[in-house]
């Protein structure tokens, strides 16, 4: 059996924690399995390196920033290899490049385009524990070192699990699984035993921070089963698996929330073809990621268009649209920072009517006003005032009895 394990920065924050991770890995070896361990940089190392870069350059060149940041995993992976040796196991640490993580050349957010794991399989065959630097790869064309973006180690682990046809991919983090809601907000939140890739994707995209969205996408596309669990306990975490027909399906998996977005409102734009296209093409060209988009019904030949986007992009989006407002004929552009998005996710929604109605009633009874609504087949998202976010999460969580029911 091949086990891929990924340990995040908090799990290897100092040399003592590195030793504890080594003991966990040793246990898997004692159980007779092959292990490939993916590690992030220790604790705040990446942030420290970024700070040094900023002392030198306002906008550090992306190629060199990637070269710099990849020093972080190099340190954690070699220390972990030493800790394995100290426990009597031979280990081989491999950089992203050595491990065959081939990417495109987009520094800072490269995408994996191929995995050539020859050195990994060779080292496994030699009985070694293989330790791979997370978050990094090498570009196919330029042979330059690349990074996969924040949280990219999750994707490294999933991609290796897929390429090696691993039996399981364990994602170790500082929480012990995926919850029906954020336990810091909703004390009644319950750990999910099992969730489908699709549901996890929606949860991650809607603010659940436990897994990087891209890693879940990769896992879904390649059928990789993930086990999200804590590196500080030995208890079972949450399994993220393919949806199967015989899987006892909970109607609702959980409630996610996100306070990292703001609402852009463009008032009284002429209600005619091409206007929305014009606006959103301009935003896309400026590399601004839009989340929800809502257009109200037309009154007197004009309409309001609202969309949500990351708080950090608010000012530049407003500037952009003000420049454009003469051309598209909008009356006013505003950006509201005080919103929050609350999302209800569940594969069972597809076959259970009335879920949306139930969510809206619960919010209404709790006195929470809904400003925007957006849905997918397995998700309903609403935008509310940011003051209301905790009330909203608790109300929805309780309405659907998420604390009480046991998920398959």
């Amino acid at each position: 059996m091949i086990v891929v394990q990924k340990y995040g920065g908090s799990s290897v924050a100092d040399t003592d924690r590195v030793k504890r991770v080594a003991e966990r890995v040793a246990q898997v070896k004692r159980d007779g399995h092959n292990v490939v361990v993916v590690v992030s940089a220790m604790g705040k190392t990446t942030d420290q390196l970024i700070r040094q870069a900023q002392e030198i350059a306002v906008i550090p060149p992306a190629r060199e920033l990637d070269m710099l940041l990849t020093a972080g995993e190099r340190i954690s992976m070699s220390l972990l290899a030493m800790a394995m040796h100290e426990l009597g196991y031979t280990a081989r640490s491999l950089t992203g490049s050595q491990a065959g993580i081939i990417t495109d050349a987009v520094h800072g957010k490269a995408r994996i385009i191929d995995i050539t794991p020859g050195r990994i399989t060779e080292a496994l065959a030699g009985g070694h524990v293989v330790i791979v630097a997370g978050f990094q790869g090498v570009s196919r064309d330029s042979k330059d070192v690349t990074t996969l973006g924040r949280g990219g180690s999750d994707t490294t682990a999933v991609a290796l699990a897929a390429a090696l046809r691993a039996d399981v991919c364990e994602i170790y983090t500082d929480v012990d699984g995926v919850y029906t809601a954020d336990p810091r907000i909703c004390t009644a939140a319950r750990k999910l035993h099992r969730v489908s890739h699709e549901e996890m994707l929606e949860l991650a995209a809607c603010g659940a921070k436990v897994l990087q969205v891209r890693s879940v996408e990769y896992a879904r596309n390649h059928g990789v089963a993930l086990h999200v669990r804590s590196s500080f306990t030995y208890s079972d975490g949450t399994w993220v698996t393919e949806e199967t027909d015989d899987m006892e399906q909970a109607m609702i998996s959980g409630v996610a929330h996100d306070t990292g977005e703001g609402k852009l409102v463009i008032r009284r734009v002429p209600d005619k073809p091409g206007v929305a296209a014009r606006i959103f093409t301009a935003l896309a060209d400026a590399n601004i990621n839009i989340d929800m988009i809502v257009q109200n019904v037309s009154e007197d030949g004009t309409t309001d268009i609202s969309c949500t986007l990351p708080l950090a992009d608010g000012p530049s989006a407003v500037r952009l649209l003000e420049d454009l407002s003469g051309e598209v004929g909008a009356e006013a552009v505003g950006f509201d920072e005080h919103i929050a998005k609350v999302s209800l996710v569940g594969a069972g929604m597809k076959t259970h009517p009335g879920v949306a109605a139930g969510m809206f009633s619960a919010l209404s009874e709790a006195g929470v006003n809904i400003e925007m609504i957006s849905t997918s087949t397995i998700r309903i998202s609403v935008v509310v005032r940011d003051d209301d976010v905790e009330t909203a999460v608790r109300a929805v969580h309780e309405h659907f009895g998420l604390a009480a029911t046991e998920v398959a």
Copy 2:
């Protein structure tokens, strides 16, 4: 013209110093030259990484220690590349592996066996400043990351200068050149303008710390001219060049001293064939580097053998020889830590008789007793009490008028 520059750890100790190095490099570009910069790890980074390794493993596996330590140059080189960009120059940082530094597989003290500088010449052709991680390479057979040992960045620079047929190889350090003696001991010491590879080799081997012995050896073998200078001033340093017939030859280049060795004395060993071979084979097998060896004339069929070796190796050498003393018939083994070696180096010695006599007279007049003597064609070394080292250096320096004469 191709210029190779090497900056040591103190020259890139923090981000401000990295910026100052960038300005020096920019000057060379403005002068219209191609530049390849070799950097060490910042300040005490290597020591900090070694400390972390020691927190985890008593004897860290050498492969993983090399992987760990090479993170140091990765950080300094990418920061320097960013600083170049900030000044308006494009730069490409390259790891030892990317720069084509091919070594054997002896982790921790690998030797360069080939240089394949394709990526360097390509980047130079593209107008980029090339920044190469010093001290590191990649093993030809295992493709593992290797390091060249302490001071290995000097060797990286010399090897690249040779492979690229650079016009000059500048070694930037925290002193401004090679002196006729250590200025901290001998205030009259004078900076040498020029010294031959052979003389520099002897000086480095006899305790002058400004250049790694191996880098000088490499420079000699490949005819690379070195310019040793300070990164804190713009004044000329010391040139280390091939000895040429028309080179106005100073009789003496300088006085070096070394207090890092002790003297092993093996008393009253039988004066018969094979005994010395037995002793020094045993020491060599234990990886103990012997420097000077002196055997006294025989009295009553026995003799005393003395040798100098690094202080750290004293205890294990004594243990080894005590185990062996029955077999070889030695009467006693002792280790004297309180010695110092003082060496006089000069290519002109070959053709000037009486240099040894002059050195011994100077020491005798200064009241310094000589315990051991060893010579090469261009060097005379003596072992004295460590208390006497400063007196000895000053006396010899003055006797040969090193402060007064101007070296070619």
